[in-house]
């Protein structure tokens, strides 16, 4: 069981770091706000990042949480098994 768990973590981590995404590589250059020397370019239309980028971002956030989820479920199972042991001895 632990071998499986460590394998999961290993695969998850390597996937996580192989994804070329995340806050540090995100291209999101900022424009200084409109105050600069009379240039007033007030935008009223919103624009979201591309779908592809968003999918990558999604994986970037979801992978670690997913692994945490698996670990928690393992822990719960461990505790519940322990609980059953208790009820058997009672």
């Amino acid at each position: 069981m632990y071998a499986k768990m460590i394998f999961t973590i290993f695969v998850g981590t390597s996937l996580l770091f192989s994804l070329d995404t995340g806050p540090n590589t995100v291209v999101c250059d900022l424009v200084v706000m409109q105050v600069q020397a009379g240039q007033n370019n007030i935008e009223t239309k919103i624009e979201f990042p591309s779908f592809e980028y968003r999918i990558n971002l999604l994986l970037y956030f979801v992978f670690p949480v997913l692994i945490l989820l698996i670990l928690l479920i393992l822990k719960i199972r461990q505790l519940d098994l322990h609980l059953d042991d208790d009820s058997r001895t009672n």
Binding site: I9, G22, P23, V32, G38
Partner: protein, 141 residues
């Protein structure tokens, strides 16, 4: 005994991984709260030559920063970043003394921007200046 050890390892992994999980979230928060970077140099006409006669100074704002324009008694024009190099107060030109003065901690600079007395550690950064059709054009980086 063995059971306790196993439990300890699992707890350690869970807490460790919870820490890892928080990294993408915390770095997102950090990026969100980091102030936007200033964009490259800004060049703009900030004043007319008439507004800064010889032996006078004027403070203007360029890209949200204060800029001190001075004209020496000899008629030479200069521009400095107006934040005192000590703790950042805005400096002013003194006609009587013919120097640049910071009222916060009494730092005095000469009209070349060099720190003469007081706690200021460095000269005021001088900015490139150009005169175009009676307009003073300054570039701030």
């Amino acid at each position: 005994m063995e059971k306790n050890n196993r439990r300890k390892i699992l707890n350690l992994i869970i807490w460790g991984w919870a820490g890892v999980t928080s990294i993408p979230f915390l770095s997102t928060v950090f990026r969100f709260t980091s102030p936007p970077k200033r964009e490259g140099p800004i060049t703009a006409a900030v004043s007319t030559t008439e507004e800064v006669p010889p032996n006078s100074g004027k403070t203007v704002s360029l890209g949200n920063r204060p800029v001190l324009l001075i004209t020496t008694p000899e008629g030479e024009r200069r521009a400095f970043l107006a934040n005192c190099t000590h703790l950042g107060c805005v400096v002013r030109y003194r006609e009587e003394e013919n120097d640049i003065y910071c009222a916060c901690h009494h730092s005095v600079f000469d009209i070349e921007g060099k720190n003469m007395s007081g706690p200021a550690p460095r000269p005021l950064p001088q900015l490139p200046i150009e005169i175009e059709n009676d307009n003073i054009v300054v570039t701030v980086s």
